[in-house]
């Protein structure tokens, strides 16, 4: 965005909004990392940190909503500004939800840390890394208005889904082997499912970025009878 708004206070409001969204994004990325470390490092202090971080995310969500409403009411934004603000209002919902999922992961990790580990954790940290990377990429795409990067996120989701299926099948074998494994395997399954869901939220973010930049909505192409080829 080369040209700036003639009205500097409007420009400042938009910048503040962008910064709040980025701060929120950075927080949730950190939450994902911490929640999975709570599992892999069996660190009992980390879940509390994830929850504390989630409170900050919740506060940011409300601040972003307030700021968007203020801008809509006072500035009647148009064109790319309008798309940015309506996108911001939706992005916060996904970001906040990712934060909640990270809290759920941390809670499951806390449960798991009460018992001996079921197995060596390899795939779960990988899935977490992938989910976190998807979120980061979607946020980078948002900041830079980079639709190519957003499309990378859309394509990247298949890898998460594949790994999730692999983890699911493996955990099933643990459960079938010994019913005493079920509780822990189920907790691990929940964590994997939450990570897979985080990946889906990253896809939502990427779709919104594409709308924000191009002004065309690519969501639910099939439902709307549209041809959409990647």
């Amino acid at each position: 965005m080369a040209a700036t708004h003639t009205d500097k206070t409007f420009e400042n409001d938009l910048r503040a909004l962008r910064e709040k969204l980025l701060a929120m994004g950075a927080r949730v990325e950190e939450q994902i990392a911490l929640s999975v470390r709570a599992l892999t490092e069996r660190d009992t202090a980390l879940p509390a940190r994830v929850k504390a971080s989630d409170r900050e995310v919740n506060v940011l969500e409300i601040e972003v909503d307030d700021l968007c409403r203020k801008i809509l009411a006072l500035r009647q934004p148009a064109a790319s500004d309008l798309r940015f603000i309506t996108t911001a209002l939706k992005i916060v919902v996904d970001l906040e939800r990712i934060g909640d999922l990270a809290v759920n992961i941390a809670e499951r990790a806390a449960d798991l840390n009460e018992a001996p580990p079921l197995k060596q954790y390899q795939d779960t940290p990988r899935l977490a890394e992938m989910a976190q990377q998807q979120v980061r990429r979607a946020l980078d795409a948002f900041v830079a208005g980079d639709t190519a990067k957003a499309e990378d996120v859309l394509r990247g989701d298949d890898h998460l889904d594949d790994l999730f299926v692999k983890i699911f099948n493996e955990l099933l074998t643990y459960m079938m082997e010994d019913s005493r494994n079920i509780r822990r395997a189920n907790a691990l399954l929940s964590i994997a499912k939450h990570l897979e869901r985080i990946g889906d939220h990253a896809v939502n973010l990427a779709e919104m970025v594409i709308y924000m930049v191009r002004g065309t909505d690519i969501r639910h192409a099939r439902s709307r009878g549209l041809e959409w080829v990647e």
């Binding site: 040209a3 700036t4 708004h5 003639t6 009647q76 148009a78 064109a79 002004g215």
Partner: protein
């Protein structure tokens, strides 16, 4: 879905250029004014939007040393045709100005003025037409008991609606509005905008406005002028959510100095 697609062209400018003396005010304008739709002309001061509006009923020719190139069509016929009656053109393509300019006469006579000038003599015919025009201008109920009072004693919003009624009385086909609500308070403005919505089923409307929210609210089609050129024209929703041209984007988002 562009509104212009499902409506025929009421007026059409083709390669229109207007000069005031040596100065080129607008150039190479190709723009269709679709029938029974509201077309908003937006752009910064001096962009040529008012010049374009006035060229649609040759009102700009009242300014000395005005000349034009290209053509303007009304129902497919050039409005510059030799022998064309300019007074009749201005009856068919009426105009409402920024400053409401009622004559220092009664409300009734203000609306009847164009009819008398046009040669209408029958009192009942005139009275009927005045009533219908005031009704169409959403003013009848407010003034029906004081038709003989001076129009100058009315509020600004009422005066503007009297001027609209005066324009409607001669049964135009196209209504040109130059900043019709810029001097009005928000309630009077809302009444004018509501009126524009009602009028478009019977008339074709082109409106110049500096108020972009107003253009967004009242129009079906928006044309953005800049430095004498038509930069972009499209469905109003498209212009305000996803303009194609960078200059339009900068203008509607307030990025012009």
């Amino acid at each position: 879905m562009t509104p212009a697609q499902n409506s025929r062209a009421k007026m059409e400018a083709r390669r229109l250029a207007i000069r005031y003396g040596q100065k080129l005010a607008i150039r190479d304008i190709n723009l269709t004014i679709p029938e029974h739709q509201v077309t908003a002309l937006i752009g910064p001061s001096g962009c040529g939007k008012s010049t374009f509006l006035r060229s649609l009923n040759r009102m700009n020719e009242l300014i000395p040393h005005t000349s034009h190139d290209g053509e303007v069509l009304l129902d497919g016929h050039s409005i510059h045709e030799r022998g064309l009656d300019v007074v009749d053109l201005r009856r068919r393509v009426g105009m409402v100005f920024q400053r409401s300019n009622p004559f220092p006469k009664s409300i009734f006579e203000n609306v009847a003025y164009g009819l008398r000038v046009g040669g209408m003599r029958d009192k009942q015919d005139i009275a009927d037409r005045v009533e219908r025009s005031l009704r169409n201008a959403a003013l009848w109920d407010e003034v029906k008991d004081r038709l003989s009072e001076s129009a100058l004693g009315m509020s600004g919003g009422q005066q503007q609606r009297v001027c609209i009624a005066r324009a409607l009385a001669v049964e135009p086909e196209v209504l040109l509005m130059d900043e019709p609500a810029s001097a009005l308070d928000p309630i009077a403005t809302a009444k004018i905008e509501e009126l524009i919505h009602e009028l478009k089923s019977r008339y074709t409307i082109a409106i110049v406005t500096h108020n972009m929210q107003q253009a967004a609210r009242v129009s079906d089609v928006t044309a953005f002028f800049y430095m004498g050129e038509l930069v972009e024209v499209g469905a109003t929703e498209q212009i305000f959510t996803n303009p194609r041209e960078k200059r339009t984007e900068d203008y509607v988002t307030g990025k012009f100095g």
